[in-house]
């Protein structure tokens, strides 16, 4: 695959950087591609608008930061305002539909929505919303294999929460299999 740039964005504390880390790990360690993760650092990663950039490629990743990400995963309105303007045409945007309003998007974007946080709540822990979103990301974009993502989730989360996280990942994945891009007004 050619250089593909992804950005995950939301509030610090939602597990945004963890989501980027898991995708990067899945791509590089388990799918045997190259991946580079860069991230917000400092106070914003602990409460403000927070983001993680992942670049995936079959060849070496030279420039480490995403420049025009073709996939954007948004989990807060503030992050939406901050990062949407950097999207190229025909980008794929994944949103938590309860946290992000879709009105402002570039009309060429393919926007897919999921109630990730509500689904995580029904699983018992709101904190796994990021993993629900990762399952959704895996099935909608198919940029990283299901198996690699599953392995990366299992080897990254605290052992005591492994099953919960794998369930969250599976639910998001299944939801994504049926997802259609939203019709933008």
């Amino acid at each position: 695959m050619a250089r593909t740039e992804l950005r995950f964005a939301g509030f610090g504390g939602q597990g945004i950087i963890m989501a980027g880390y898991i995708v990067g790990k899945a791509a590089s360690i388990y799918d045997k591609k190259n991946a580079t993760l860069t991230q917000s650092y400092g106070p914003e990663s602990r409460g403000g608008a927070c983001s993680a950039g992942v670049v995936i490629s079959d060849t070496a990743v030279h420039y480490p930061h995403p420049v025009t990400p073709s996939v954007l995963v948004l989990m807060s309105q503030e992050a939406c305002t901050k990062f949407e303007c950097l999207l190229p045409d025909n980008a794929t945007v994944l949103i938590d539909e309860d946290l992000v309003k879709v009105s402002a998007f570039n009309k060429t974007s393919k926007v897919y929505s999921i109630p990730a946080t509500r689904m995580a709540e029904s699983l018992g822990r709101k904190i796994v919303a990021n993993i629900v979103m990762l399952g959704f990301f895996a099935s909608v974009t198919k940029l990283v294999s299901f198996e690699a993502m599953q392995q990366a989730v299992a080897s990254t989360v605290p052992p005591a929460t492994k099953q919960l996280n794998l369930d969250a990942f599976q639910q998001g994945y299944d939801y994504g299999l049926k997802a259609e891009p939203m019709k933008l007004a």
């Binding site: 590089s28 360690i29 650092y41 400092g42 420039y63 480490p64």
Partner: protein, 384 residues
């Protein structure tokens, strides 16, 4: 990382700072003293977690002056030692870095560079400490400094830094930066048996015959460790071969000349660089650390335009590969030197090119890495 061994053989998705710490552990580092400072803190955090697992010692010191002294002291007790810091802490360590040079103490000091001067940009990148690494402590001396461009390189170069520090009995600097320290990538840690380590050069003579500063043929003296039965005196004052202070011009010349020569005359054993398509090039991009990596895309784009562009990347920045730069200067129109400062290594390139090739600086104040378009524009200008 579930294993508790010192060498975590396998593939890991870790940050540059974690990779630096793992490189140190793989090299046999068992003592870390430091004072946390962004953006180097993860090196200390990771060592604090890992050192107790391998029987080592982590101490959070009261400041950077004490940190530097602690790693010197622990080295004299026999340990391989390291500290990590960034700009303001690096400045505070300068005095005792000189003590390490004067007492010929092997240790490794990591600088994850951020934007400066002063407290500058704690969370953002810089490469402004390259000349401070060269001569930031007072007095005449030579130093060894390495510059990694990725988490894998910082792992590999941390091991190399420990080996060089043991081989030449000198503090070795790892001059990394915030982007490399905080980026996360795959790092392959080889089996422990495949990692070549340089042991401490301990005395071959009996305690009665031992002179602590009597050099071997390569100008490096053997180092007895506290508790081995050898008598020693360790001082920052100019000293004779016994280690006793001698405040004369003659003693100064004998000692300092050797401290300089043990690096200069062994430079071929120390210098390492990476070259890509430098033979036959019209333009050579000379860059190091994160800026060498940022240059790869503009170099590729320039080649697609038909320009003959090479990359020269010093892996060991100090001592500087001056002979090679001099040779290359004879065959090129210009060197392009992107770095995140206003011209430090570019001045070295200019010096070593002896006026045979133009040197075009691509400066950056810090806070971000170069826009590839700016480097490409400089390459085009250089090729004219």
């Amino acid at each position: 990382m579930e294993s508790k061994g010192a060498v975590l053989t396998g593939e890991h998705f870790i940050s540059g700072n974690e990779a630096c710490a793992e490189g140190a552990l793989a090299a046999g580092c068992r003592f870390f003293a430091g004072y946390p400072i962004t953006p180097s803190t993860e090196v200390a955090e990771h060592m604090a977690e890992r050192l107790p697992e391998v029987g080592g010692t982590f101490i959070q010191m009261e400041d950077e002056l004490a940190s530097m002294n602690a790693i010197l002291g622990a080295a004299w007790a026999g340990a391989k030692t390291m500290s990590a810091t960034s700009g303001p802490g690096f400045s505070l360590m300068m005095e005792n870095l000189g003590l390490g040079i004067m007492t010929e103490t092997p240790c490794v000091l990591v600088n994850i560079q951020r934007g400066g001067p002063s407290t500058g940009l704690p969370t953002l990148v810089g490469q402004g400490d390259m000349m401070q690494a060269r001569w930031g402590s007072h007095g005449p001396y030579e130093i060894i400094a390495l510059s990694p461009s990725s988490p894998q390189e910082i792992f590999d170069l941390t091991i190399k830094a420990f080996n060089l520090s043991e081989q030449f009995r000198i503090p070795v600097l790892i001059m990394s930066d915030e982007v490399v320290g905080h980026m996360t990538e795959k790092v392959i840690i080889p089996p422990a048996d495949d990692i070549k380590l340089t042991p401490r050069r301990t005395p071959k003579v009996s305690p009665e015959k031992y002179l602590p500063y009597d050099p071997d043929e390569d100008l490096v003296p053997a180092m007895a460790l506290a508790g081995q039965g050898y008598k020693m005196h360790v001082t920052g004052l100019t000293h004779d071969r016994k280690g006793y202070p001698v405040i004369t011009e003659e003693a100064q010349i004998e000692l300092v000349q050797r401290l300089i020569d043990k690096i200069r005359k062994n430079r071929d054993k120390i210098i390492e660089y990476h070259e890509d398509q430098c033979e036959g090039a019209d333009v050579i991009v000379c860059s190091y650390g994160i800026s060498a990596r940022t240059s790869l895309l503009p170099i590729q784009l320039a080649r697609e335009e038909g320009l003959k562009v090479g990359l020269f990347k010093p892996i060991v920045v100090w001592p500087f590969p001056e002979e090679r730069i001099g040779q290359l200067a004879a065959g090129v129109k210009a060197f392009v030197v992107p770095e995140i400062n206003y011209g430090q290594i570019s001045l070295e390139v200019e010096r070593c090119a002896h006026g045979k090739a133009e040197v075009i600086q691509v400066p950056h104040a810090g806070g971000g890495i170069h826009d590839p378009a700016k480097v490409l524009e400089a390459i085009r200008r250089a090729a004219k």
